[in-house]
Amino acid sequence: MAAFLVRRTIGAILVLVAVTFFVFVIFIVVPGGDPAERIAGKNATPQNIENIRHDWGFDRPFYVQYYKMMEKMATGSLVSYTSQQNVVQQIEQGMPATFSLSIGAGVIWLFFGILVGVISAISAGKFSDRAITVLALVGVSLPIFWLGIVTRYYLAEGGLTSFFPDGEYVPLTDNPAQWFFHLILPWTVLAVGFIGFYGRVLRGNVLDTSNEDYVRTAKAKGLPPKRIMRKHILRLSLIPIITLFGLDFAGVLGGGAILTETVFDLHGVGQYAAQSINNFDLPPIMGVTLYGAMFIVVFSVFVDLLYAYLDPRIRPT
């Protein structure tokens, strides 16, 4: 166990370094990326730009720049090129919104994904299965930006019906009811695609597992069908879903729900990332990248541990 954690920690650090380094290099290679010109503004003289370049260290070798940036990130003193705001603080400010969105949506999509998968597997080939299949495919195919805008137009305040408030994030500590009310649409919109996808994957897993010899054994033992489904089929069918969920959930926690956050103006980490990319603002991009990659790395360790718990065959002995 200790060896496992040490190995995974070293691996995680390498991944984080590699990811941030690639983002950094891409930013330098992309044309129009010269930060000095952007900081200097529209009517800057060449001398102005040159001074800025020297002051900010843009004239030094790129690996030195990379190192300096990571150093600032580690000490929490990294600031944006455009707004000069502290990157770490900005990410911290976005986290409550992003966490609220992700956790709520995660619960919804996991619950309904499993429900949809099990129902369509049980009724495989029948009408309900086909109906669910069509709905699932529609759900997977709907682009989030489109679905978000359409729901806002039809259901949110200022639209046709005004059932729900239109976007914005209300902190949970300020007003739990409003927090919930404001998040219903974003949760749903983010969850729809995942529900469809998880439902399809689980349906296939359940049908595959149902044909396993040990399920036949369970039937031969005279177990009730519900128990066979729950203990012998579902338990094993859910193992791949755990992996999917771990990584998808880490993705949205890490600011991956860029479209949902932007469409509903939640001011989360994802929206911060989107703004920074629009502004060609490297420090926040690096910050969000590192932040997101950390979630992926940590959650993949969680997933591995959970896997070992769920499947004794891969438990270290």
Partner: protein, 341 residues
């Protein structure tokens, strides 16, 4: 006269597929008394496994069609609902499957899988069920069962897993144990042990056994009666002794000829039955074995009935050849003389 446990009368099982109706089992009848062992022998696709699974009620489905009767202690199992059938699986009927590597659930402990069966059918607490599991594992010859009961299946060898499967099948004291090729996936050295174990436990538990196999050698010692199946039909049915000493059907000869034997002069090569079993959707006209039979003649274009051609009324076969011809020609196949020529 012992109690008749099971009476199967003209059992037919068909499956509707996109290519047509598959006649998996086409008229199987037999009786089984408590304490007896019935061997069902045949190649892959002969319908022997489907027969066994149907007895357990495991072949049901929207595409399955059943005819005939399966009278178990007087109740026709074919008329029972799934819920009722579930009450029979475990306490009345136990089954052992072919591949012990895949027949146990990999994520649950051996003991829990045995206890699960017990707790489903009996009012017993966890501790009691676990103690029973330990005793069952001891009965099937697992060394140190107190510790091994908490092992997972992947920590067991193939032979041990099959022993655990047997323990599971016997956990609720079934009166009928169905073993579907219980030794096929095991090492030869383990095979004899498992067969011996089943024979011994049958007596301990006072149950009847249906042993399904493609290998006549497996059932030679243990079975009281043997049914030889081909293409869903019974081609020969006799007491074990009669079947081995006076086999009547050319297919049975082929099966006998394919067993390596040490008590006879060694043939140059073992007999192999040429060709492969027919499609169960389009059976050949007449005798189903005709296209592969060396002795086929004109009359074989008509389907022979399963009936006795001997003094022994219980020895049935499905062949048009006359008995003297069969007795004078069968040794070519059984001892491999034809192949040597």
């Amino acid at each position: 006269m012992a109690e008749t446990l099971l009476q199967v009368k003209d059992l037919k099982v068909q499956f509707a597929t996109e290519d047509g109706m598959v006649k998996a089992v086409d008229g199987v009848s037999f009786e089984l008394e408590r304490g007896k062992v019935l061997g069902i022998v045949g190649e892959s696709g002969s319908g022997k496994s489907v027969t066994a699974m149907t007895l357990m009620g495991l072949t049901g489905g929207v595409n399955s069609r059943f005819e005939g009767e399966i009278l178990y202690k007087g109740t026709d199992l074919l008329t029972l609902s799934d819920d009722q059938m579930q009450q029979y699986r475990g306490p009345e009927l136990g089954m052992i499957f072919q591949d012990p590597m895949t027949s146990l659930n990999p994520v649950y402990r051996i003991g829990d899988q045995i206890a699960e069966a017990i707790r489903t059918h009996e009012k017993i607490d966890k501790r009691g069920a676990k103690n029973r599991s330990v005793e069952l594992l001891r009965a099937v010859g697992i060394p140190n069962p107190e510790a091994r009961v908490d092992d997972f299946p992947h920590q067991f060898s193939g032979g041990m897993r099959q022993r655990a499967m047997i323990a599971m099948a016997l956990s609720c004291n079934p009166d009928l144990l169905i073993a579907d090729e219980p030794t096929t996936a095991l090492d030869v050295t383990i095979q004899a042990q498992i067969i011996e174990l089943i024979g011994r436990l049958k007596d301990d538990f006072n149950s009847a056994v249906i042993m399904i196999t493609h290998d006549l050698g497996v059932v030679a010692d243990i079975a009281d009666e043997i049914i030889v199946m081909y293409a869903g039909q019974v081609v020969e049915q006799a007491s074990t002794r009669d079947l081995f000493y006076d086999p009547q059907h050319p297919y049975t000869w082929g099966l006998l000829g394919s067993i390596p034997r040490l008590d006879r002069p060694r043939p140059d090569r073992l007999h192999s039955i040429k060709g492969s079993p027919p499609s169960l959707i389009n059976l050949p006209q007449g005798c189903a074995f005709r296209p592969r039979c060396q002795h086929a003649f004109n009359r074989c274009m008509e389907r022979p009935a399963l009936e006795s051609h001997l003094d022994v009324a219980t020895h049935l076969d499905r062949c048009w050849l006359d008995v003297p011809y069969k007795r004078s020609h069968r040794d070519e196949t059984i001892s491999g003389a034809t192949e040597a020529a």
